[in-house]
Symmetry: C2
Subunit: 209 residues, 2 copies
Amino acid sequence: MTSIGTVGKGDRTREAILARGVDVACRVGLGGLTIGDLAAGTNLSKSGLYAHFGSKEALQVAVLDAAAQEFGDVVVLPALRAPRGEARVLALLEGWLACGRLRLPGGCLFVKASTELDEQPGPVRDRLAERHRELVRTIARVFAGGITEGQFRTDADPYQFATDLYGVMLVYYHAHRLLADPRAEARARVAVAALLDTARLDPSAGDDR
Amino acid sequence: MTSIGTVGKGDRTREAILARGVDVACRVGLGGLTIGDLAAGTNLSKSGLYAHFGSKEALQVAVLDAAAQEFGDVVVLPALRAPRGEARVLALLEGWLACGRLRLPGGCLFVKASTELDEQPGPVRDRLAERHRELVRTIARVFAGGITEGQFRTDADPYQFATDLYGVMLVYYHAHRLLADPRAEARARVAVAALLDTARLDPSAGDDR
């Protein structure tokens, strides 16, 4: 076996552990995630898992990173293939709604961990906050592309839009999951259409929807 | 001691237990709330607490009701004293923002419990969902007052507004607590101002803000 092959196997093992970690953390919280549970679920020894991660906190950080990677792969990267501007904003919205509809663990972990960790200072909370700030920056950049393209007003605030869109997604997640509200997706689309109406250069363009 | 006095004392004991229950549930989750912990924190016997509530689920439901009552007393009732229409919507917003700023347990319990219970069917989740629907109905009624007063368009959807406002508050809560973002409140006010601009009869009125 070559050293590249060995690295590949180690990477796959790590990916499998983290995928399971994201899944478990979504159900029991990041704080409920233990190296012992993961060892049982992945047929690895606890000492083998410690060798991978070194500590429970390092495992939690790695699980957050894996969830962010999953969200990026499933929601953000496909949206970036849409034309810059409004089309890309809407592609992001649709990918994100699908992520909630399918109950993909990566999306849900960030919502759960936010309320779980908001009063637990330390490296895990710091990483969670940084991952959230990254997401807000990504949304702001996608929106700013619409200003560059001349579709949105030059005085529109990309960070305000990013915050507003995140709020729409939080309430969608809540209405979909807790309330099982069949109008949850439609309301999210109406809310984003209104945000885009406000952002457009010509207010009367809203009538073309 | 009269029987009225006895009822009063029982009520006060129950209130003290529930106030502590809301506080504890905010920190460790509704699922982490035990009759044993509450007994230790209130100097009552576990058997005395069982006599009050009968079961852990009944205690959890009573804690949710107490949190809803607290939110109603601190945020909703004061807002209802403002003039009907936009002033009342803004009073609701300001009371709610203050509730988040002060980290009042009643407000935070609903956000925490939503992600905790969304996949745990049963009477506690049912009560939580019903309390959320009540809140949405309350916001929708407050908004509908603005239609009655001739301030908002007659085709504005009070339930869409209620959902949008709840999203603004969820992302405010998140930005304030997890990200410690000093712009969190300002962004919430800008978002609600934009929602009200859209709702107003005369779109150009938005320039008067």
